[in-house]
Symmetry: C2
Subunit: 450 residues, 2 copies
């Protein structure tokens, strides 16, 4: 149990700080998680959440029950300031028994998932298959169902296909079938948020988007019928979950680590974003436990964790929280999220997607160097996709989103599919993510200034 | 186009034979496929079969239509002896809207596929989760639904779980839920053949078998309801497809390469076994084309290709053919099948699963050496699973089943799932399989004796 020996040595010696990162502090925290008493605790914490409540769709009982269950556990853990804050007017969309059927050249019920937010609609029309987005500008799509059969180039590059409703509707299209956003499939379409336009729209499995592509290349006329029963319902109120480790010197300066609790209505939302929640919880639990053993470990600034609601619906929960707090007396010093797979980083292709200025970036580099010294390979990369913490990032608060190497590709095997289950995580995945989030939170809560 | 140069050189020079394998002959054939005019032709041949007819379930119109389409194409190709032979009394099973629902500890419609051959049944009972088959002998399963949540160790090792109905019924079990037979899943259960017993039985997705396993380990009582609507119907008659390249010296001695045309009622049966068919067709086409260019390339024995029906139902089509022909005047000299993924071999973990005596095995080794010299890594391995050609293998006819390295594991990502689509094949997969099957057929059709 080398972490115990290390802790004893640490308690007997002053922290040795080079730059603003104290490597002993990072070592204590990461060893406590990866090889010490906290090992596997995040995964164990996650199990009853996803197994007992299942997926947690916004405006559904399973989400609100899961929120209650989580708050109760956080109170038992003894965190500071455990509470929920209401997020009113949340989008309420319910999936129905939707069908999309290829009628010609042969009858085949297609393997689809309706895109979130679409209202009931029926349409039968000829389909045109486009292998690239820009072809909408040179192809007659008027009166047609547009089928996108793009090559996977990455989620953020390809999301325009799923969100094309408004643009293709303006060109006269009567329906949208977008190839699912992922690099690999076993008959597994992906859902996700779409446009507000009431154009019938669904994601096709990779296999069947490619089938339609091949049929079109052989000059077959494709006739497709779309029958959407899904619908929007009156808005609901949901809740964000907040819990703190109160800062000893600057309690009103907040270092934020976060993940989201809501999910789509498929699988059990373990990957997206139960694993993120578990890593955030584990990081918080470890900082609290180490602080109880050694008061010097307690943070100077407040470390706050938030489990957002309504992430899957345009970050609606986080945006509401931001609006409520942006003019408050608390100052957000740093914000972060983990929502692209709480995976173990195995190469320095694992990144902290960072927004901030040059000085701040240099500090991130120091943190990353310290993580590397503790066998956590990772690098800093500029990027502007910060998910739920985007509002603060846009405000100039330094921000990070953790993306493991597996988060760039493997994550999208399962994202928004029926395959989003706890077994995606391998031993250590959540531990490593917790070690990264905990290190960020702890180091930044204690530095003098940005 | 080095194959043309090679062909010219070959035509001008006598075959150089070391042992019984003529390496020039193998090189001509493999180059013609892998880098010559036949490149990609198998994959192109397969496309309309799977895209225009879809899956091809026994006793369904799509199978018989696909048989007619295939026969017509073979006739146009000019093969000898193109015909079908009826296989009567074939099992006729139709999947219904089957549901399996977890009632306690929470309500969840489980992600299942009924096991083939099961008749309508309804049962609600407590479930017991077993992580290993042998636990049926030490666990009280009387009145219970048995859920198997085994670790994947391989298809042939684990198939006992799917076929456990008879045995667990004898112990008083009232239902069977078997974890799907595969190493990896994206919410993708696998179907397959089961037992004849009328015990309600279905395959669970990996994810949900593991979910039930975790709930049981946390001492939750599991209550499950099974409602099977699938049913057996009166038997039907289907057809095997036979086509030859007639032997020039020993036409009544048959060298057989084969694959099966029927599939389960999911996906499009491209992997299982459209790819096998395409490779067999491509091998036959190439041998015929090379023989037209150079008469010396024509086989001395008859090379026969068969596309079996009813493979998915206990090899019923092949067994019928065997019974009809075992006492005929034709002598089966060698039999083979490709039905475990028509993939490119990338390592010598790719095998010819071989049954035969020591002398025959030595000859297989020579063929394999020649394939290796032509950049096709493969090895010979003893094994007794020869699929549709098992009857001949059991009779002592030397036999081979081709299993690429990807056939051991990756194949079972898709096997009997909704993900069995043409896109599984990468560039070259079917070409390489055709090169192997073609080499086996051609070399063995021309050797003096075993």
């Amino acid at each position: 149990m080398d972490w115990i020996l290390h802790l004893i040595l640490l308690l007997g010696s002053p922290y040795l700080t080079v730059g603003f990162v104290n490597n002993d502090e990072v070592q204590t925290l990461t060893r406590y998680i990866l090889r010490g008493p906290s090992r596997n605790s995040g995964l164990e914490w996650l199990e009853p959440l996803v197994d007992d409540f299942g997926h947690r769709m916004l405006c559904r009982k399973s989400l609100e029950d899961a929120i209650d269950f989580t708050v109760e556990r956080l109170r038992q853990d003894g965190f500071d300031n455990v509470h929920t804050e209401e997020a009113p007017n949340m989008p309420n969309w319910e999936r129905g028994e939707d069908t999309v059927t290829l009628l010609e050249p042969r009858n085949l019920k297609l393997n689809i998932l309706t895109i979130g937010g679409v209202d009931p609609a029926k349409v039968t029309a000829e389909a045109v298959v486009l292998e690239d987005y820009d072809l909408i500008n040179t192809t007659n799509v008027n009166g047609k169902i547009v089928v996108f059969n793009q090559k996977w180039t990455g989620y953020y590059e390809d999301i325009k296909y799923r969100r094309a409703a408004k643009e293709i509707k303006a060109l006269g299209a009567v329906g949208l079938l977008a190839k699912s956003l992922g690099p690999f499939s076993i008959g597994s379409p992906h859902t996700g948020g779409g446009s507000d336009e009431h154009l019938p729209a669904a994601s096709l499995s990779l296999e069947e988007a490619e089938l339609l592509g091949r049929l079109a290349r052989r000059n077959k006329t494709l006739k497709i019928s779309i029958d959407i029963r899904s619908k929007n319902l009156p808005p609901c109120t949901s809740r964000n979950i907040i819990f703190d480790i109160k800062g000893s010197e600057k309690p009103e300066e907040v270092v934020l680590i976060s993940a989201h609790i809501d999910s789509w209505d498929l699988g059990q939302g373990a990957l997206d974003d139960g694993g993120g929640m578990a890593a955030v919880w584990q990081a918080m639990k470890v900082i609290r436990e180490l602080g109880q053993t050694d008061k010097r470990f307690l943070p100077k600034r407040t470390i706050r964790a938030i489990f957002w609601t309504a992430e899957e619906h345009g970050f609606a929960g986080a945006k509401h929280y931001y609006e409520q707090h942006k003019n408050g007396k608390e100052k957000f010093y740093f914000v972060s999220e983990t929502d692209q797979g709480a995976f173990k980083p195995t190469t320095t292709k694992s990144i902290l997607r960072f927004m901030g200025n040059t000085t701040q970036r240099a500090k991130m580099q120091e943190i990353v160097q310290s993580l590397k010294r503790n066998d956590i390979p990772i690098s800093v990369q500029e990027g502007d996709k910060q998910g739920d913490v985007q509002s603060w990032a846009d405000d100039g608060v330094p921000s990070v989103q953790y993306v493991a190497d597996k988060g760039a590709d493997f994550y999208f095997y399962f994202h928004h599919t029926t395959g989003d289950y706890l077994n995606i995580f391998e031993d250590g995945d959540i531990d490593y993510t917790a070690a990264i989030m905990g290190t960020l939170a702890h180091v930044l809560s204690n530095q003098d200034k940005w």
